[in-house]
């Protein structure tokens, strides 16, 4: 059988390409037909050349190393490009159809044909599973990378004024993120010698008792360092949840908006924000 397939390599490729192009799920927006053809040709070559009657039952045979390597590369790159699992799966399943079709065209005994198609099916099914595994692994890598990026991006510490730091928190606070938030903030307090830190939670979607506990910890830690911590950006619904849950935030200075917190900070640093004299004059003139 391996011999037959080897002779019909180009026919297999043509048939496979035809199947793929006819598939309604063809993503010509993500991959050009030319690239698809190159990928397919490489895979057919690797598979047919290495296929023989001995290793057809064993998809893990070292003969197929090249095939698994190719498949792995293809499915990882597809995962990153944004192909759906179905589209990636169809890629290899259409190859199976093409191979079986070619096998059917060969004149042979029904029983032999059945046996051979069964073997071929099994082999290709194993390859499909492999493709899926790599595809999912690729997707997970994407997710992990994004998680890391989000953690990095979403915890900036901003110096709003000499001695005043602000940290807008965006997204849900869990233990791991609180740790990052806290470390960043404390480190920055040491670096800049700031005596007031404002934690703005307007970007936190929900506050439960655990999040509140994390916030309390952050506040206690900044106090231990010798700085004051103000929590701002508490939305009405968050205020409602906090009170309904019976969380006691009375030890902490809380403000509704960042502006309120800033005002408090200015006051405690004995700073004043004034409208300039010229502008005041303008206003009196109007009156």
């Amino acid at each position: 059988m391996a011999h037959t397939l080897n002779n019909k390599k180009s026919e297999i490729l043509e048939l496979w390409m035809k199947n793929q192009l006819a598939d309604s799920g063809l993503r010509d927006d993500l991959i050009s037909n030319k690239d698809l053809r190159v990928q397919s040709e490489e895979l057919v070559n690797a598979l047919i050349t290495n296929l023989n009657d001995n290793n057809i039952n064993n998809s893990e045979s070292p003969d197929f190393d090249k095939v698994t390597e190719l498949l792995g590369g293809i499915s990882i790159s597809r995962a990153r490009q944004g192909f759906s699992p179905r589209e990636t799966g169809n890629f290899i399943l259409t190859l199976k159809e093409a191979l079986l079709e070619i096998l059917r065209q060969e004149p042979s005994d029904v029983n032999v044909l059945f046996e051979e198609s069964l073997k071929l099916s099994r082999l290709l099914d194993n390859f499909t599973i492999l493709t899926f595994e790599t595809f999912i692994k690729g997707r997970e890598e994407v997710i992990l990378r994004q998680t890391d990026e989000i953690t990095d991006i979403s915890t900036p510490v901003i110096k709003v004024w000499d001695g005043i730091l602000a940290m807008p928190i965006i997204g849900t606070l869990d233990s791991a993120r609180t740790q990052v938030v806290m470390e960043n903030l404390l480190q920055k307090i040491v670096e800049t010698g700031s005596s007031i830190a404002i934690l703005d939670i307007s970007g936190v979607p929900a506050v439960d008792s655990l999040v509140a506990q994390h916030l309390l910890k952050a506040v206690s830690a900044t106090r231990l360092m010798g700085a004051d911590c103000i929590i701002s950006g508490i939305r009405p619904e968050i205020a409602q949840t906090i009170v309904h849950l019976g969380i006691d935030l009375s030890q902490i200075i809380t403000k509704a908006s960042l502006a309120g917190a800033l005002q408090y900070a200015f006051k405690s640093l004995r700073l004043e924000v004034k409208r300039s004299a010229l502008e005041v004059k303008g206003i009196t003139n109007l009156q």
């Binding site: 010698g193 900044t222 360092m225 010798g226 004995r270």
Partner: protein, 134 residues
């Protein structure tokens, strides 16, 4: 035997902890410091822990104790220069150092102590600048 030096700096006492405190040393410090406060009748104590990288619950407790004892002797205690890692550890251990004031560095600690003592002298009610832990 090793001792942590206690320096008298104007109206305050300054203790700089340069090494990691082990239990015996911490207890000695507590004893020496209290004796020194009594002898010099200072109004403020500054404890600089900026060189301390590791704390345990015992050390946290000793710091709290020193604060309470000095308070009894009519002196305020300010712990200055705590490292972020130390602050996080103390919070995780559930030791927010009640009764002790904190400041970012010795300068700010001095300022804080001065404002505290002034207030006591002129018996004024409240000041916005304090970072009391109570």
């Amino acid at each position: 035997m090793e001792r942590i030096p206690i320096l008298k700096l104007g109206a305050f006492l300054l203790v700089t902890i340069q090494i990691d405190l082990y239990d015996r040393l911490a207890l000695d410090l507590e004893e020496d410091l209290v004796a020194m406060v009594e002898k010099t009748s200072v109004k403020g104590v500054l404890i600089d822990i900026s060189a301390v990288g590791i704390v345990d619950s015992f050390m946290g407790k000793i710091l709290g104790n020193i604060g309470s004892m000095c308070k009894l002797l009519d002196a305020e205690t300010v712990v200055v220069g705590m490292q972020p890692a130390v602050a996080i550890t103390l919070v995780e251990l559930g030791l927010p150092l009640k009764g002790v004031y904190t400041a970012l560095n010795v300068d700010k600690g001095m300022e804080l102590l001065r404002s505290k003592i002034e207030i006591e002298d002129i018996v004024e009610a409240d000041d916005d600048d304090d970072t009391s832990l109570n």
